[in-house]
């Protein structure tokens, strides 16, 4: 607004700094918005173009459009060794950035031990640990194989996996079937009961689902997630509505294609596991985000993932690099008998949901989630509102009714995180730090700032070298 237009116009002021200045303006009857300002992160400078002159802002907006165009469909299932690209014979995929046995946290080690016995590579858990320590297994991040896994995120060759195809772009992503809550492999629990359950999932659940999916045809996960957001889910820690919607789609086909005995067991299992859909929301969002990978000049995150030791992020324009920092401790609600001192640092690939505009970023759509992660319902709203300030855009299909159906904040821009000092929020489950115990709570955590400072430094080097 030119100076001449300012003169005589009612002032509408933004105040950054001393709050008393805002109070003085209010006292004079002036509309003022006071900014709860914090300094930029270390090393921030303005970054608008790449070295070759690419306008970063327009590249980012283009990436957002492509992400939203993606249409993830559940197209079928397969065995990991047969379908996951690059899956080796003695390979174990895990959550988060790369890590070896020596630095693995307790729950991830527990899950690895469980998987080794499950695969028949080790006779017992002690032997499994010894073999792992001796380098008998090859470890690789799920994210290096178009896969995602919640918590420990362990995928071994014999495990059945969902196959999610991004119909618009053709890329396929993978995730295992969700085991439910309690003593489960992904939380680092192992033992005969855990393995027996995995075997049941392999031998009964998986074939039943394969048969049903043949009948139903591909299931549109983007549409299902969009509906679930209007039913109080954010599809990270609240999947109750999405699981129910999926149940509605699958139940007739399961009944039609399985024996009564198996159908009853399978339907009871899905019905009793509120998190069943998590292992579909994750690969769905992953498949949408993947299309931004390799976009020159793009400063948006395509991955946030944790292995329980390190927290890692990946940036669209540098798709092969990880920027890591120690995984933070999650604050939240504790299951009876547990406390912060039992907690393992943040773990799991499930932060892919936040990266893709759901999960913590869509908490405004899921106020009931605070009963799981702590806080009051206003927290759910304010988390989403805060995240708009670090994203490049809003989701075209995922919307929050309480915000008048505004699209959820989508596309975490490293530049905006740096400029505002606002770190992405993640809501998440908490594993016990010892192997074999399982879940101890759930809560909220922010991504560590070092990841962003390092990624930004690399972006600047790319831009200015």
């Amino acid at each position: 607004m030119p100076v001449q237009e300012l003169f005589g116009q009612p002032l509408k002021a933004v105040n950054v700094g001393l709050e008393s200045f805002a109070v003085s303006l209010e006292d004079q009857g002036i509309a003022v918005a006071h900014v709860d300002w914090r300094p930029p992160l270390e090393g921030y400078v303005e970054l608008t173009h790449t070295r070759s002159g690419v306008d970063i802002e327009s590249v980012n907006i283009g990436a957002i459009e492509r992400i939203c165009k993606g249409r993830p469909l559940l197209v079928g299932m397969g065995i990991a060794r047969d379908v996951i690209p690059g899956m080796g014979e003695r390979m174990i995929l895990h959550a988060g950035p790369p890590i070896g046995w020596d630095r693995m946290c307790g729950p991830m080690r527990g899950a690895v031990m469980g998987a080794a016995v499950y695969e028949g590579w080790a006779a017992n858990y002690t032997e499994a640990a010894e073999m792992a320590a001796a380098g008998a297994f090859e470890f690789d991040p799920c994210h290096h194989h178009h896969a995602v896994g919640p918590m420990a995120g362990i995928i071994s060759p014999s495990m059945p996996v969902f196959m999610v195809r991004n119909e618009t772009f053709g890329n396929v992503t993978y995730a295992t079937q969700n085991e439910g809550l309690g003593k489960v492999l992904r939380y680092g629990a192992y033992g005969d009961a855990v393995l027996a359950h995995l075997k049941w999932m392999e031998q009964d659940l998986y074939p039943a689902l394969v048969r049903a999916l043949k009948l139903t045809g591909p299931i549109d996960l983007r549409s299902l997630i969009a509906q679930a957001l209007h039913m109080g889910d954010e599809v990270h820690n609240r999947n109750r509505a999405a699981t129910s919607l999926l149940f509605r789609q699958l139940a007739p086909a399961i009944l039609q294609t399985s024996s009564n005995e198996i159908a009853l067991k399978v339907l009871k299992f899905i019905d009793s596991n509120d998190h069943f859909f998590l292992n579909l929301s994750m690969p769905a969002v992953k498949s949408m985000l993947e299309v931004a990978e390799g976009t020159e000049g793009c400063t948006l995150l395509t991955v946030m993932a944790r292995n329980g030791t390190d927290f890692g992020i990946r940036v669209a324009s540098m798709p092969d690099r990880w920027f890591i920092a120690p995984a933070p401790i999650v604050q939240g609600l504790w299951l009876p008998g547990f406390s912060e001192k039992d907690a393992n640092p943040d773990i799991g690939d499930s932060a892919i949901t936040e990266t893709g505009g759901v999960g913590g970023f869509a908490m405004a759509a899921a106020p009931a989630i605070v009963k799981f992660v702590g806080g009051d319902s206003s927290l759910a709203l304010s988390v989403t509102q805060e995240m708009y300030q670090i994203t490049a855009g809003e989701h075209e299909f995922f919307t929050a009714p309480v915000l008048n159906f505004r699209g959820t904040p989508l596309g975490i821009d490293v530049r905006k995180v740096m400029a505002t000092g606002i770190l992405p929020f993640i809501n998440t489950g908490i594993a016990h730090k010892e192997p074999g115990v399982g879940m101890v709570g759930a809560g909220l955590v922010r991504a560590p700032k070092k990841c962003f400072e390092d990624a930004f430094k690399a972006l600047r080097e790319l831009a200015y070298q």
Partner: protein, 525 residues
């Protein structure tokens, strides 16, 4: 005695909140000293000076928050650290009943959105090293900027003002304490009625003074644009003084223009006066301490001090002869001579010196110039000539004018316009000196200032009077209040408080200075 430090990584609070927390800690029993600062090199220097720099504090990064306390024992120190956290937490607490929908915006973009996308100005008072970045974002969004922050690099100032000029926007500052836009007070400013005079000023208190003097002449203002003390230096080249001047020249509501600054560098003065010539609007120019002849040559009306500048501008606005305004002021000064002679009689032999304790930098400067012209040589921590610099600004020798708003007094504490503690202490200290004849004060009211600065000063004045009387002396107090009837503190209420305490209260700083000067005119007495 024990020194303890707590480091909070990634915590950020504004400087006023931190100073208030530190103040809260000092009030605890057993706490001898406390500082709550961000871990910048400058702040570490401050901690070192106060013997509060522990190895932990030394290792802190600029975005770490350092809480440092020195206490009588470990228990008191630990209690203080706990209290610090409680105080900081309380400062963040959202008002009761607020919902998440009202969660405060954390960026300029989000705040603009909150205002329905229709903001037009951004006030910035974050630490200097961050201020330029926020200002740039505001300009890029097409918003005018009021930049209160100091310690902004001059390169940033030039870049910001150049960008603003391209976009037809104002950057008021950096280090601009004051502006009045559409009769709304921004920062440290006063409630001044609407009228025909537009002001552009390079100094904060200079702008406050002339705008406050105007209503006493029955005249109001259109706009008062503060451009920051560095604007008229060669490096910046008067970019915003020129932009402000052009805007007022083009503004149909402005009939008379008043420019206030210390003497600019000659090249900048030439540019400004050349721009003055381009308009037919009468323009009063005050280059405080500069040569009036150059101004007169350009067709502008020169003024010698802030009182005269306001009076002349008002006279022109009212269609009166500015020469008459000057004559009125001279006549008023004659009456001060008689009053001064009476007051001088109260002084004991040996009470010879002027002790000016200022909260406004331009008042301090103006007083030195006027006294110099009256033949009284005054030393200062912000002197009008290098050789007049005080050896130690904490110790008055001879005639002195101390600017308590200078960095040496404000690092790690609030400005004297907000926190009267330091000046109050100094008032009593000066009264103990048998050579002190006049204690001279500026009292600045309006938005931003303390809610009752006169009341606070009176507490110290009474104590000072008791001290002097105890020694068989009488100290003469002279003051002026910079403010208006519409300010929250109310001008006449503030003046009355001072008068009730026996203070000689004059309408302007210049008038008060002349009275004080005449009191000290022992030669003819």
């Amino acid at each position: 005695m024990i020194t303890k430090t707590a480091i909070k990584s990634g915590e950020y609070y504004d400087s006023v909140t931190l100073l208030q927390v530190a103040q809260g800690l000092l009030e605890l029993t057993g706490v001898k000293d406390a500082a709550v600062v961000m871990g910048t090199p400058a702040n570490k220097g401050l901690l070192e000076t106060g013997n509060l720099l522990t190895p932990e504090a030394e290792a802190a990064s600029p975005d770490d928050l350092i809480i440092a306390v020195r206490a009588v024992d470990a228990t008191a120190a630990a209690a203080a650290l706990t209290e610090a956290e409680a105080l900081m937490k309380a400062s963040r607490q959202a008002p009761a009943g607020s919902s998440g929908m009202a969660a405060p915006p954390k960026t300029v973009a989000a705040a603009v959105e909150r205002l329905g996308g229709a903001a037009n100005i951004v006030l910035i008072s974050v630490a200097g090293r961050y201020a330029a970045g926020v200002a740039r974002e505001a300009l890029q969004r097409g918003l005018h900027v009021f930049l209160f922050s100091d310690n902004v690099a001059v390169e940033d100032e030039i870049a910001l003002k150049t960008l603003a000029r391209e976009k037809g926007l104002l950057v008021m500052g950096p280090d601009a304490g004051t502006a009045i836009i559409n009769n709304v007070a921004l920062g440290f400013a006063n409630v001044v009625p609407h009228g025909p005079v537009g002001v552009v000023a390079a100094s904060g208190t200079g702008l406050q003074a002339v705008t406050c003097y105007m209503p006493r002449e029955e005249v109001g203002i259109t706009q008062a644009i503060g451009v920051g003390g560095r604007d008229l230096k060669s490096e910046v080249g008067g970019i915003m003084m020129l932009e402000g001047l052009r805007a007022l020249q083009a503004d149909p509501a402005t009939h008379v223009i008043l420019l206030v600054s210390k003497p600019p560098s000659p090249d900048v003065a030439e540019k400004v006066l050349a721009q003055v010539r381009l308009s037919t609007k009468p323009t009063v120019v005050l280059f405080l301490g500069g040569d009036p002849a150059v101004i007169a040559q350009s067709g502008a009306i020169p003024a010698a001090d802030m009182e005269e500048a306001a009076a002349v501008a008002a006279a022109v606005a009212l269609g009166k002869n500015p020469a008459d305004a000057r004559i009125n002021l001279r006549q008023r000064e004659m009456s001060y001579k008689k009053r001064a002679a009476e007051l001088r009689k109260r002084l004991a032999p040996g009470q010879r010196y002027f002790r000016g304790l200022f909260s406004g930098g331009t008042f301090c400067y103006e007083t030195q110039l006027i006294l110099r012209d009256m033949g009284i040589v005054v030393q200062s921590n912000a002197p009008v000539a290098k050789q007049l610099r005080m050896v130690d600004s904490n110790k008055s020798v001879g005639h002195v004018a101390v600017d308590l708003g200078e960095d040496e007094f404000t690092v790690g504490r609030l400005h004297p316009m907000i926190d009267p503690t330091l000046r109050n202490r100094r008032i009593v200290q000066e009264a103990k000196d048998p050579e002190t004849a006049v204690i001279f004060l500026d009292v600045v009211i309006g938005y931003g200032s303390h809610e009752d600065p006169a009341g606070e000063a009176v507490k110290a004045i009474k104590e000072a009077q008791a001290v002097a009387r105890g020694d068989g002396r009488e100290v003469v107090f002279v003051a002026s209040v910079c403010g208006t009837a519409d300010d929250p503190q109310d001008l006449s209420t503030q003046e009355a408080k001072l008068e009730a305490a026996g203070v000689m209260v004059l309408p302007t700083n210049a008038a008060a200075t002349r009275l004080a000067g005449h009191i000290l005119d022992f030669g003819k007495g």
